[in-house]
Amino acid sequence: MSMRSEEQVDTGARRDWMGLLARADPSRLAALWDRMGDTPGHDLLRAPEIGAVMVRGRAGATGAPFNLGEMTVTRCAVRLSACGTVGHAYVQGRDRDHARTAALADALMQTDAAPRVRDGLLDPLAAAETAARQSRAEKAAATRVEFLTLVRGED
């Protein structure tokens, strides 16, 4: 396994897969990860740690920021033993395995194992997410109404 150079790892693409891994359902992620085979050797630079992030909104949706409330988040950082590649994860919820798997996947995506991780993990996760979103959007669309204002006799 070898690390790809920094230029080869596009920040936009990395943001996308890290977000996808963070939003993933922990049990689905675990099942896909198990199916991919052995977990690569790694050190924990930061063991999975449960904490909170303060979520902010904006007054009037567009104005000054305010603190809405916190959400639980678990984070983790790993370094692959084979090549020294570092992976990070910040994922919603309190599932330590979710964070560790996401950090490992982030690391592997920066190596030549990337195509395998994309096929075995990211693509199925993205497909499941798209299907779930589509399903909600279709149910919402079925509740779309056209209100009619009734014209009252004026004369």
């Binding site: 630079l45 930061r46 063991a47 740690e49 950082a77 370094r79 020294g84 570092v86």
Partner: protein
């Protein structure tokens, strides 16, 4: 971020953190006491003791000023990864400041708290070449009769104590050693 910045944290965060925090409390509660803090391996020029203090005291709510030679990319990255503390450009709005005495002085540049909230003040971590018993004589809470610490500028700390309950609190670090001087301690000059 360089991979080296991601190492050198607490080896066993829960236990090391609790032990180091206990040591920091002890030296602050008993001015003049010197304790060992070696739970972290920060990048140069930070000492192990100063690095350990930063790890157990700082978080995203505590702006840190890296004074003088401490202001390096490696220190910034290390602090960011391990604590999430924001780095600020000067003493005026920091919660913690770390550096050598000549880079940190003067003390009246730091937040000293308000009469309603004296705790809204800065804590300094002063890196010394040596931290051995003896030096300026200290009296006050937590000291049986008298204690002594090698203060870099006794007059400045006496003036800080005179502002009590306002003022700053100070840790002194050297290698793996730490001592402290709260604002409540009387500095005999």
């Amino acid at each position: 971020m360089d991979a080296a910045s991601l190492t050198g944290g607490l080896r066993d965060p829960a236990r090391d953190g609790a032990r180091a925090f206990r040591a920091a409390m002890e030296v602050m509660a008993r001015p003049g006491t010197i304790a060992t803090l070696d739970h972290a391996a920060p990048p140069a020029p930070l000492s192990a003791a100063a690095g350990t203090l930063l790890l157990v005291l700082c978080d995203p709510d505590t702006p840190v000023w890296l004074a003088g030679a401490c202001e390096t990319g490696a220190v910034r990255d290390w602090l960011a990864f391990h604590t999430g503390a924001p780095v600020v450009a000067g003493p005026g709005d920091c919660a913690f400041a770390v550096g050598r005495w000549d880079a940190l002085t003067p003390l009246d540049a730091y937040p000293a708290g308000t009469p309603e909230y004296p705790d809204r003040s800065a804590t300094l971590i002063v890196e010394l070449d040596r931290l051995l018993p003896g030096g300026t004589v200290l009296e006050g809470p937590g000291i049986a009769v008298q204690a002594a610490l090698p203060l870099p500028d006794p007059a400045a700390f006496a003036a800080n104590a005179a502002r009590f309950p306002l003022g700053v609190d100070t840790f002194f670090t050297s290698g793996t050693h730490v001592a402290a001087l709260p604002r409540s301690t009387k500095v005999l000059v």
